[in-house]
């Protein structure tokens, strides 16, 4: 699948950092904010504009866990699997979500690019366990059934 890139938007990002190659991390962050991942076609463009090699940008992009080279869904669901959430049965929630969306550990994103399901190691909200987030919004004291309802609601929004 090929993302259509509007290079004017990339230019705007580059503009913001005055085309400074030392700002590569910030530039990648802003690019990811726009596309929810780092599209491959952006690399040669950034390379040309910043005067650093695509291999170097790839090096930075693969060094930090935060950057994704795979497309992400519109809704990124992160299920906490920290100790507190795990004990309070976060895994069945994860399994329910994966099952209803046809996802797995190796396939995190639905083909229609609506949903990405991931685990995280502790969202720091143990009092609300088990917790999940959809994009930046926090949902507390979840159960598998509540998760199914949430999915239905999100699908309706579209």
């Amino acid at each position: 699948m090929q993302e259509i890139i509007d290079f004017k938007e990339i230019d705007a990002i580059l503009e913001r950092y005055r085309y400074e190659s030392s700002s590569i991390i910030a530039i990648l962050q802003d690019t990811q904010a726009k596309y929810r991942y780092l599209p491959k076609d952006v690399f040669p463009y950034l390379s040309e504009k910043l005067g650093i090699s695509t291999a170097k940008i790839y090096s930075v992009a693969t060094f930090y866990e935060n950057f994704s080279l795979e497309p992400k869904g519109k809704y990124i669901i992160k299920i906490c699997d920290g100790t507190a959430c795990h004990v309070r049965k976060s895994i069945p929630i994860l399994e329910r979500l994966r099952k209803s969306l046809g996802l797995s550990e190796s396939k995190e994103t639905t083909d229609d690019l609506m949903f990405t399901v991931q685990t995280v190691s502790c969202l720091g909200a143990c009092g609300l366990a088990p917790v999940l987030t959809v994009n930046e919004k926090v949902y507390a004291a979840m159960t598998p059934d509540k998760a199914t309802e949430l999915l239905a609601k999100l699908k309706e929004e579209n």
């Binding site: 690399f43 090699s53 695509t54 291999a55 170097k56 940008i57 090096s59 693969t62």
Partner: protein, 562 residues
Amino acid sequence: MSMEFMLIDNMPVEIAGEANILSLIRKAGIDLPTFCYYSELSVYGACRMCVVEDKWGEIHAACSTPPKAGMEVRTNTPRLRKYRKMILELLLSNHCRDCTTCEKNGKCKLQELAQRFGIKQVRFSNTSEESDMDTSSLCISRDKSKCILCGDCVRMCEEVQNVGAIDFAFRGSKMCVSTAFDEPIANTKCVGCGQCAAICPTGAIVVKNDTARLWKELSNKDTKVVVQIAPAVRVGIGKEFGLPEGENVMGRVVAALRRIGFDEVFDTSTAADLTVLEETGEFLGRLQKGGVFPLITSCCPAWIRYAELNYPELLENISTCRSPMQMFASVLKEHYKHSNRKVVSVAIMPCTAKKHEAAREEFQENGIPYVDYVITTQELIQMIREAGIVFSEIEPEAVDMPFGATSGAGVIFGVTGGVTEAVIRRVSDDKSVSALRAIAFTGVRGMQGVKETSIAYEGRQIKVAIVSGLKNADDLIRKMKKGEAHYDFIEVMACPGGCVCGAGQPFTNAEGKKLRGAGLYDADRMSNIKRSEENPVIMALYGGLLKGKTHKLLHVHYHRKA
């Protein structure tokens, strides 16, 4: 100024501006082991093989510690030996150990140091990975599983060649050297210079080997195999056979090639003379008719590739002259066109990028390349060994007619500044011996990466720049584009120091490179023909085979790719 000293294994060693104690230790004649240090690259300090112990028992990496007056270090204590063995065992624990079938066998630093430190067994379990090959390039192959992550290739490609085709990717146990998105290297901006392979201590990056196919060709009775030898090869090969580094052993190479079974043996220097005449003609033509300046040389295929990929607008500045190898190949094709045996054209080159040049579509007719095989100096060494030839005892022989004459100007093509010097010899009106000698002192000689000079021609000054190493070339181009520098003629060689330092040659240090350059200037001095236009073979060619065909056989237009 008072002298400052440091104590190395109890020997006082003078500090003379060295950047690190490793250089000092080596100056003291101690061969401290290293994987990740090269004086021409930035210091990485990752492999820890270069450790030394100070008098308080503290351990330092010699490559990244500056020398201090009065400092005392030891390079070979029981602790250090143990430490080094440990590093080697750790490296070997996840490294393939099939040394006998590795391309780098006998030239691998890991193998060498394991032997030197007497590693007979590895205490850790073997976690080496399956081989993971990228054979997409015609010049080099990579096998990630043999990488020890020293980063030498990464720094070479970026710092010296300004290409950056490869870099570290991922981190922790997943860390590897990779192209962007793990693309095949042939799809990147790699120019095939091979400098990464030259510097890689293991078999993780090696030069492509085409000897097996060539042996088959040589044993085929129905083919006539003709071969040309590039200038730099003659000064790069002797050391491997116990002769002094940089010694000109052309005669022995010729003899060895005949023994191996080549039917006709020629010298690429002959074609270099053609290049000098054609390129000078082009330069003067542009001067008269007001063509594009600067004129940039076209002999180096890695440079051509670099320009195509990064500065396509400069292609019109690049001389239309084919490289000497391709000029000779075309002449040979024409010469043998009525031969009743199939002619196979081979070129022995110091260069890995020539393998790619030989496959370019500009240099083939009906899908048949003008040069069928490019064999590097290192591959030739292997062939000589395989044939059981005792190189140091073989009697030198001369190359074949009718292309048997060369000039000193053609021979010095193999070192940075050589092309320029040959062209200056051609354009200067003063043909006296003293004038010829004076050219050598105009700043064209020496192994520096950037040289400038200017020559008087018909009342004007022609500004010349000579660069080797693509980073140097890139810096120069940028300066030119900003209007900070102006030149009429630029010589570019991708390998620092020119072809004598090509990645197809056996690896050598800075001193060795200098000796190879000096070897070519010696050959020039001993040559009774100094200038290209005085070479009788060339004159005969212009009057015969080349008549009316110079453009078709000697020139090429590199076009912008869409």
